[in-house]
Amino acid sequence: MAFYVPYIAVVALILIGLYAVVFKRNLIKIVIGITFIECGVNLFLITLGYREKSIAPIYTSSPGGIMSLPVPQALTLTSIVIGVAVLALMLSLVVHIYRHYKTLDARKIIGGDEE
């Protein structure tokens, strides 16, 4: 009985991430916020697959018994790799934005070379 603490942590992570995206001005902070949302969703998936007093779904370590669900783990693996891919692309774009605008303030990244 761990109550609902991991579930609360999921919502907290998502909301902290969303807070960073909406209220922070620094682009890198925005990117970090997106990472947090992703971590929250990953944690949610794994939490859904956890059964009390279970073991990992790997037969090499133990024969049978209650096992935690394997599908959310596979989904989370996919989601983690997708997360790092998106992060890499976003940060590359941030580097370029800094090269062009000389600032990372989200409010100033508007308009541009309209001559």
Partner: protein
């Protein structure tokens, strides 16, 4: 019985630490420090995954989240600006 209590305690403590680390990462003005906080959060998350009987995901999160994400973040921060501007 005590073992159950211990596991429950871990399930309560680790998520709280995760939330704390993430709040710290958002709060810090120094972006390199924030990136380190993100790494710490990723490690804690990886620990949480391990406790939740998902060792596969834990390895992936430790490798990707704690190491590569931080490396990419730090590279990006180094080539832009280290401090977050004051409002």
């Amino acid at each position: 019985m005590t073992e159950d209590l211990l596991i429950s305690l871990i399930h309560i403590v680790v998520p709280i630490l995760i939330i704390a680390a993430s709040i710290v990462a958002i709060y810090l003005k120094d972006l390199i420090a924030a990136a380190i906080a993100v790494a710490a959060m990723s490690l804690l998350l990886s620990l949480e995954f391990f406790i939740l009987q998902a060792p596969d995901v834990a390895i992936a999160e430790a490798g990707v989240g704690a190491c590569l994400t931080t490396a990419i973040l730090i590279i990006a921060i180094k080539s832009t600006k280290r401090m977050e501007d004051e409002a």
